[in-house]
Symmetry: C2
Subunit: 246 residues, 2 copies
DNA sequence: TTAATTGGATAACAATATTGACCACTCAAC
DNA sequence: GTTGAGTGGTCAATATTGTTATCCAATTAA
């Protein structure tokens, strides 16, 4: 007959699955601290030894790091976006494999293209709200606000792409940016010419996404990335900001 | 934070869920005999006491009936299609509630309409195969074969409607027909005039479903049901078959 | 009737989960 | 620095749940 074998669930495995899912979805981000074992045990309604069993498994998989007396943290896989731990995580969650393959081509460009194709009504409202704020900040010449909104804007576009792995990776990239590893976005915004250029480029991306035009979005995103890279290289070479107009 | 409570699985509950799902999907039909407890326990990979615990629950819910030394059977809810047991079963499976509400309006008419809207390519192939056989049987004047194919045809239409409760109910109805509770379909087919009429009506339903035309399907199904009911009433009143042409 | 099969029931055992306690380490307030 | 609250690390006693094995009673068909 058609009877299926019952899946004998160990509760610890169920906890492992939940935490992995949270990491995959980007709810738990690298470096985040988990609640204490006692608190978390109550929240997930499991005894502490069982919870510890789950945490142990997650640590062995390289997804968590515990410090005696300190706390338990989501492993910081920045710089090793394709660490074995993440690869294994994706491998164990088949629905994410498609996301993974899709990821490997481009990043920002792809993000813009997907956002243009998949942005929901809710996504569009958020993006519009942020872009309006960017225009206001530009009017007021509020550099710091502009730089912050820049990150928010790209994050919102990233959310609209609806690809978990893509979003996960983007967030890692944005953290690198925020840490000033690549370049200091606030610095970029202090250059008058760049400000105009960037607003212009962001408007092009915004319009393309709102129009649901993937090709235009790809083109706009490409132009944006090209420009930023060019400026960064320029600065790295000359140590000065060059002037330009929109 | 966002942690969810772990669902503490009792394996017995998992078994209950599986059997209920099988009943809902119509895989297990009223009157069907389950494998012996020892066999079933092996199949679902659970110890016998646990399996018995699950069966006990299902019996309490009125979905199974056990006979000491005889076997365990899916409860026969025919004649009480909306018995408390079925209502409760549907209530515990929220996805089926929509099916349930959708059900209550019409039955055969709705089935034809849904089939026209939702029939997959696989559905269409099966329906076509059966209808071709009906035409052949009609040519050969094979009454018994024609009556059997009639049931098959309507069953196939029922499958194509893709509504679990609807299918469940239809099967109960067809069993009543097969048992001759309402009328003997084979008798109906022995009337020359009726045979022509019925093939004509079935062709109308077939065409409408294949064309994906819900309105035409509804109309054709309505005409078919009206005709059958009319003939049955006629026979019940006069005791004779009246002649008619297609 | 008889033998095989089925459901009904239970005890002994094993696996799993919970509870509570205690220790060692970290961190921040003092 | 010292201290205390909070953290992870560990373990034992207990409770819950599931497995295994056995027996009995009722049905079924040869």
């Amino acid at each position: 007959m058609v009877f299926q074998k019952i899946q004998h669930n160990r509760t610890a495995d169920a906890v492992v699955d939940q935490v992995e899912e949270l990491i995959l979805q980007g709810v738990l981000r690298p470096g985040d601290r988990l609640p204490s074992e006692r608190d978390l045990a109550k929240k997930v309604d499991v005894s502490r030894p069982i919870l510890r069993d789950a945490l142990k498994t997650l640590e062995e998989r390289g997804l968590l790091a515990t410090r005696h007396g300190g706390g338990t943290f989501v492993a910081d896989v920045i710089g090793t976006v394709f660490s074995d731990a993440v690869v294994e995580l994706v491998r164990r969650h088949p629905p994410a494999i498609a996301d993974y393959l899709e990821y490997r081509r481009e990043i920002e460009r792809t993000t813009a293209r997907f956002a243009a194709m998949r942005a929901t009504e809710a996504d569009r409202e958020i993006i519009t709200r942020i872009f309006r704020a960017m225009e206001e900040a530009h009017e007021k010449a509020d550099f710091a606000e502009e730089a912050e909104l820049d990150v928010e804007f790209h994050s919102a576009i990233g959310e609209s792409a609806h690809n978990i792995v893509l979003l996960h990776t983007l967030r890692s990239c944005y953290r690198l940016l925020a840490d000033g590893v690549f370049y200091n976005r606030a610095q970029l915004y202090r250059n008058p010419g760049s400000r105009e250029q960037l607003l212009c480029q962001h408007r092009a991306i915004y319009t393309a996404v709102m129009d649901g035009d993937p090709d235009a979005a790809t083109k706009a995103a490409t132009a944006h990335i090209d420009y930023v890279e060019q400026v960064v290289h320029e600065v790295a070479r000359t140590g000065n900001w060059k002037r330009s107009v929109c």
